[in-house]
């Protein structure tokens, strides 16, 4: 996922992921190791099951899944119809679903409507199609402001919208998870479904970016 990174003129965010000191990280590593050994000893978790979970979420799931869903919707109008009607079922056709994607809804960007997804209360995110969320999606800056100032937040991602475009912010307050179907960029008429999927970024499916023309 190629995220364009902007330099900012404010000092480093004190609560930014990467700001954690090596000492603090070591301290946390020790605490967590102790906790895991306790929970394992008590029969609350099986360390091998944890290994398996990490493997799945670190390697098997990610925005490449969602990108396949979007590309299919771009090339197959019938699939797109089913996706917009019942995204959970349509996404299952491609083999995706499960934890944090039990109730999926797809929302479509058009020249007059731009959708963007957030979870203001915690960090809900459609894992089966996008994997685990990036740090900024879980940070206060995004969660607090995108509902009240979506255009300002989108501009920080380099996404500017005309005044006559309606911005719809989807706040994931329940167990329903939202996936944005970005607009298919011009100049992609002769591309294959696989080539199209390679264009679709995580940020476009969250709704903070558009899919760039190839």
């Amino acid at each position: 996922m190629s995220d364009h990174h902007h330099p900012h003129d404010r000092p480093p965010n004190p609560y930014h992921q990467s700001a954690r000191s090596p000492e603090r990280d070591r301290e946390l590593a020790e605490r967590v190791a102790k906790l895991e050994s306790l929970l394992a000893e008590k029969g609350l978790v099986d360390p091998k099951a944890l290994d398996r979970l990490v493997e799945i979420y670190e390697h098997d799931l990610g925005p490449m899944n969602g990108a396949k869903v979007v590309a299919r919707a771009w090339v197959d109008p019938e699939f797109k119809r089913r996706l917009l009607e019942n995204a959970t079922a349509a996404v299952a056709e491609l083999g995706f679903g499960g934890l944090q994607g039990e109730h999926l809804v797809a929302v479509e960007n058009t020249p007059k409507v731009h959708n963007v997804v957030v979870c203001t209360l915690c960090s809900c995110y459609p894992w089966p199609v996008l994997g685990l969320p990036p740090g900024w999606y879980k940070d206060a800056a995004y969660r607090s402001r995108v509902v009240i100032d979506p255009r300002g937040v989108l501009a920080e991602f380099g996404t500017t919208l005309d005044d006559d475009v309606e911005v719809r912010v989807w706040d994931s307050s329940a167990e329903v998870r939202y996936l944005v179907i970005p607009e298919r960029p011009p100049g992609t008429e002769h591309m294959s479904e696989e080539q199209l999927a390679a264009l679709v970024t995580r940020d476009a499916m969250i709704g903070v970016a558009k899919v760039a023309a190839p």
Binding site: L28, L44, R52, T120, V153, A174
Partner: protein, 226 residues
Amino acid sequence: MNGIHDMGGLTCFGPVRREPDEPVFHSDWERRVFAMNLAGMAFLGPVDRARHAIERMDPAEYLTTPYYEHWLAAIVTMAKDLGYLTDEELRTGRAAGGKTPPHPPPTADMIEALVRSGMPATRTDGRNEPRFRVGDRVRARNLDIPGHTRLARYVRGKVGVVTMHHGSHVFPDTVAHDRGENAQPLYNVRFEAKELWGDNVARRDCVHIDLWEDYLEPAGETRSAP
């Protein structure tokens, strides 16, 4: 509980900060916390209990610690609340009494199925008949809720339009506190930016948010006179 986590509408956190080439996890302990939280749900869940454990963090700590420290706090809080862990055990790292779980934990070979099947929040044994229909104007109730809720403060008292009926879903406000699943119709409601953020807002934007039936009342209903 009106907590710092309920931050929709605050404008004081500066620009969104992205990390170039961000990895899925930054440290191995993040991997373990992520997985412990998921696997531990078998005994520590439901998810709304975990959310409420995070909501009870010290607000300054909540704002200054990254995400997986929140999850770590949630695991410890829930395990202690449920009697599986004591402060002493956490200090020494040695098991010393405490409750034993009722069955063995999920094993590695069960994980794939668990991830694939998920944990649907829909139920058919609760209230199934929706009180509202798509297109109805509704008001999000203003409610004083001491515990967990998903009724975000920024919509309380505001009028919107029902855009979807998602079926009947487990109710967070009760399930987080062992007061039952209380499944009931869940709706997606659209609120105009002008209604939410101020009568001086000109942009034609909106927020869609999912709200349970108990959070809503017909918009025509008389508000109590002060």
